[in-house]
Amino acid sequence: MIEGSIETGLKAIGAGLAMVGAFGPGIGIGLLAQGAMNAIGRNPDAAGTIQTNMILAIVFTEAIAIYALVVALVILFVL
């Protein structure tokens, strides 16, 4: 019926659950991009500045998703 150890299966479940944490930053990055698009729409001349600051902000937000990924990887490969 169940092949392989329960331990491996539970680890897989744990890793999958940990990645639920990527849900928030996904929304956050979308909101950031929305704000940037609106700003560029209002002021196309400032597009360069806006883009640079958007990328910076996106990197910060993405870091939270990366934390979730690191926890998932730790569960899978270290524990």
């Binding site: 640079t52 990328i55 910076l56 990197v59 993405e62 870091a63 990366i66 934390y67 990924l69 690191v70 990887l73 730790v74 490969f77 270290v78």
Partner: protein
């Protein structure tokens, strides 16, 4: 049809053909057929050790080798730029100098946009930031070279890890993994199989020829004689030695170990011949069994066809079915009635499926017996074709020589630590002792009598400390997480579809590698500039140009 449309059709057709060949045929049929299918690499978070005890008791890991290679590439680039610009003196740039200036100049302007004049005035800020960026960029991009994470030490897989059979490479002394099925995740290595692989790898035995049981019996007798001799030798050698280990001298211990080693080797040789004998005797039985099962399958298939034909013809089918279905008498006993041809049909199909399962199991056993005959103590059952192609039925794996430098948490963490300590240093340089007011707001405490709400400022200072530590962790894990996850994604996609599709992931990795390098440098700059701003009255007073 107009020529543009014809060309469009041809292009589409070409894309489909290329897609089918490269994503379907090659990775799933042709390459595994040749024995060079895709293996799943061992993924672990710490860097793998390539050389034990290399310098001062420290191990040399493959990520460290990658960092050294990145350093060499960067220094080479700097050297060639220096030479092309004649020692940074040539005013009109030639091509190489032009490239270097373009690259460094763009980056400098970008940083100046963020950091302002501080980049020029603060000592060593620009070199620090540029070094971090160039080092990370070189390291992250070099992770994508062919050979990184695929060429390495061929060795018996560690216990608990999945491995694959091996084969000798074309060039002497090289070996590769033998993967003859797509999406094959390998066989797990147990302690026992690790020992077997170890003795084989050390050269204790090689491939034995296919021999008859009589010939093997002769060899078994010879091996037993040899083992007896070795035992006598061992006993005479140890007779002269004192019994307790503590009393023996080094030389005596060495003698003892050697005699014991010979004895154990001889014993293992005997075990191997015994294994070979067992399997050689079993092979004819298994071959016969397969022939019997084949006949049964043929009969069952014939009778199944008959049952289907006669399904509309009434009761005659059922007694006929009963007569020919002999091995699985229980199923034939049911459903013999007139109205129930369906169960008889189902029973017939079940019989064929059961028999085929039996056949697969027996063929597997035959393969294992044949493998054990030629490689006793083998861990994997290989077909005769595989063995003739040179496959070695023990569980091996490859530890890469080079692995992306930022996939090691050590590099990411200590680079982050370096960045944040530099930031604190710049803060102290610009603001002297007043810098620490940011963290421990003593003046707010002092003014508690006059402004009680100033206690909040003090707590904000404590939070700033926590935030600084958080910045170290976040810098490290952002870099590590992105690059390590990228490497794992590359390995996984290449395992699933080895050709063409990984190109997309490579493109993503190029982008992600450069963005993460840039972000690390940008964040260091931004934090340093923030630290250098004067803390008190920043909003009310104008920023004076310092130094």
């Amino acid at each position: 049809m107009n020529p543009t449309r014809t060309r469009g059709c041809l292009v589409l057709l070409g894309v489909i053909v290329v897609g089918v060949v490269f994503c379907g045929l090659l990775p799933f049929l042709i390459l595994p057929g040749l024995g060079i299918g895709m293996a799943l690499p061992v993924i672990q978070v710490p860097g793998e050790v390539v050389v034990d005890n290399a310098i001062l008791g420290m191990d040399l890991t493959n990520t460290f080798i990658a960092t050294l290679l990145a350093d060499i590439v960067i220094l080479g680039f700097a050297f060639f730029a220096w030479r092309a610009s004649k020692g940074w003196t040539q005013e009109v740039p030639n091509r190489m100098q032009g490239w270097a200036e373009l690259f460094v100049g763009t980056f400098y302007n970008f940083m100046k946009g963020l950091g302002g004049d501080r980049l020029r005035t603060a000592p060593l800020l620009w070199p620090l930031v540029a070094t971090i960026f160039i080092l990370l960029l070189a390291g992250n991009w070099m992770e994508l070279f062919p050979g990184v994470e695929s060429v390495g030490n061929f060795h018996c897989a560690h216990v608990g890890v999945n491995g694959y059979p091996g084969q000798r490479g074309a060039v002497g002394g090289t070996a590769l993994l033998y993967v003859n099925a797509p999406l094959n995740a390998g066989v797990e290595q147990t302690e026992e199989s690790e020992h077997a692989c170890h003795y084989f790898f050390e050269g204790e035995f090689g491939r034995y020829p296919e021999e008859s049981p009589e010939q093997i019996r002769e060899q078994l007798e010879a091996a037993e004689v040899a083992a007896n001799d070795a035992r006598i030798e061992f006993e005479t050698a140890t007779a002269g030695l004192p019994a307790q280990e503590a009393v023996r001298t080094e030389e005596q211990t060495a003698q003892y170990e050697e005699a014991l080693h010979h004895y154990e080797e001889a014993e293992r040789a005997v075990e191997r011949q015994q294994l070979r004998l067992e399997n050689a005797e079993e092979i004819p039985h298994l071959v016969d069994e397969i022939a019997v099962i084949d006949r049964e399958i043929a009969a069952a298939q014939l009778h199944e066809a008959t049952v289907e034909e006669d399904a509309g013809h009434g009761a005659e089918a059922a007694p006929v079915a009963e007569a020919t279905t002999e091995p699985n008498g229980d199923e034939a006993g049911e459903g013999v009635e007139l109205a129930e041809e369906a169960p008889a049909e189902v029973a017939a199909e079940a019989t064929v499926a059961d028999l085929q399962e039996q056949r697969t199991a027996t063929v597997e056993a035959l393969n294992m017996a044949r493998t054990q005959l030629q490689y006793p103590t083998a861990s994997v059952a290989l077909t005769q074709d595989d063995l003739d192609r040179g496959a070695l039925p023990f569980i091996f794996h490859i530890t890469p020589f080079v692995r992306g430098q930022a996939t090691d948490l050590n590099l990411a963490f200590f680079l982050a630590l370096l960045s944040m300590i530099s930031v604190q240093a710049y803060g102290v340089y610009a603001n002297k002792g007043a810098y620490f007011e940011k963290f421990v707001n003593l003046s707010a405490l002092g003014n508690l009598g006059k402004k009680p709400l100033g206690a909040i400022d003090f707590i904000v200072g404590v939070i700033e400390i926590i935030s600084e530590i958080g910045k170290i962790v976040s810098l490290a894990f952002r870099l590590f997480g992105n690059i390590f996850a990228g490497a794992v994604a590359l390995a996984a996609i290449t395992f699933l579809v080895s050709l063409l599709i990984p190109g997309v992931i490579y493109l993503l990795e190029i982008i992600v590698g450069s963005v993460q390098a840039l972000v690390f440098a940008v964040l260091t700059t931004v934090f340093a500039v923030q630290a250098m701003e004067s803390h008190h009255g920043g909003d009310d007073h104008e920023h004076a140009e310092e130094h």
